[in-house]
Amino acid sequence: MTEILFVLFAVVALGGAFGVVLSRTPVASLLFMVATLASVAGIYVLFEAHFLAAIQVLVYAGAIMVLFLFVIMLLNLGHDYRADLKYGLWSLLALVVAGLTAGVLGQAFWGASDTGFRGDGAAVAAALDAAVREQGAAGVIAEPLFTDYVVAFELMGLLLLVAIVAAVVLAKPKT
């Protein structure tokens, strides 16, 4: 069952990714992207990362994609049908870069087996499941976030503040 769902989500994610790159209108690209994000969230669920799956749907597919949609609407790019794929030397370069990246990543990932990727995989998974049963799906992420990684967490807040101020300043019309 898990394998069937995984294949389904993987196919939707890959198809959506190709749709993002190849579709002619920005709005269609965006909707393909939402499909990809939703199916990646499904794969998160298969890996027992329920909280991240919820965040993925709410924040990524919900907020960030709607932000993109607002900008497309605001700039009135929704019916910009001119093909904007680069051909010639660029497609050659793209093929070379994609081939190299795929080769390196594929070689690194091909041998990853389900048990013993680093240490005892099954024991780590069992410990994670026990922690989720005890603290809940959000608690198991929140606990290290507010203890070991609290500095990084606060810096994240600062980063978001800076990003908000920067976005407002940049997007404001010059008077």
Partner: protein, 97 residues
């Protein structure tokens, strides 16, 4: 399933790279970068099953950075659009020689 998830993440990353290289629309290039971030997130989540909860924490941070990046990047795109009346990256040649 770990190997397949990692290979899927590699495939998504490569497709995102392709999108960054071959498209001219700045917004689609941005979407492709988001796709690459998502591919890395997928690898993190898949590996967190085998190395501990830290992988999921990093996904949390990556999502925050992606949100900040989307806000600032889209503001820059709006600002550029005001100046050039287009989001075609071939027209932004001020720094080219």
């Amino acid at each position: 399933m770990l190997a397949y998830a990692l290979l899927l993440s590699a495939a998504l990353f490569v497709i995102g790279t392709l999108g960054v290289i071959v498209r001219r629309n700045a917004i689609i290039i941005f979407l492709s970068i988001e796709l690459q971030l998502n591919a890395v997130n997928l690898a993190f989540v898949a590996l967190s099953r085998y190395t501990g909860i830290e992988g999921q924490l990093f996904v949390f941070f990556v999502m925050t950075v992606a949100a900040a990046e989307a806000a600032v990047g889209l503001a820059i795109i709006i600002s550029i659009f005001r100046h050039y009346k287009t989001v075609n990256v071939d027209r932004f040649n001020l720094l080219k020689w």
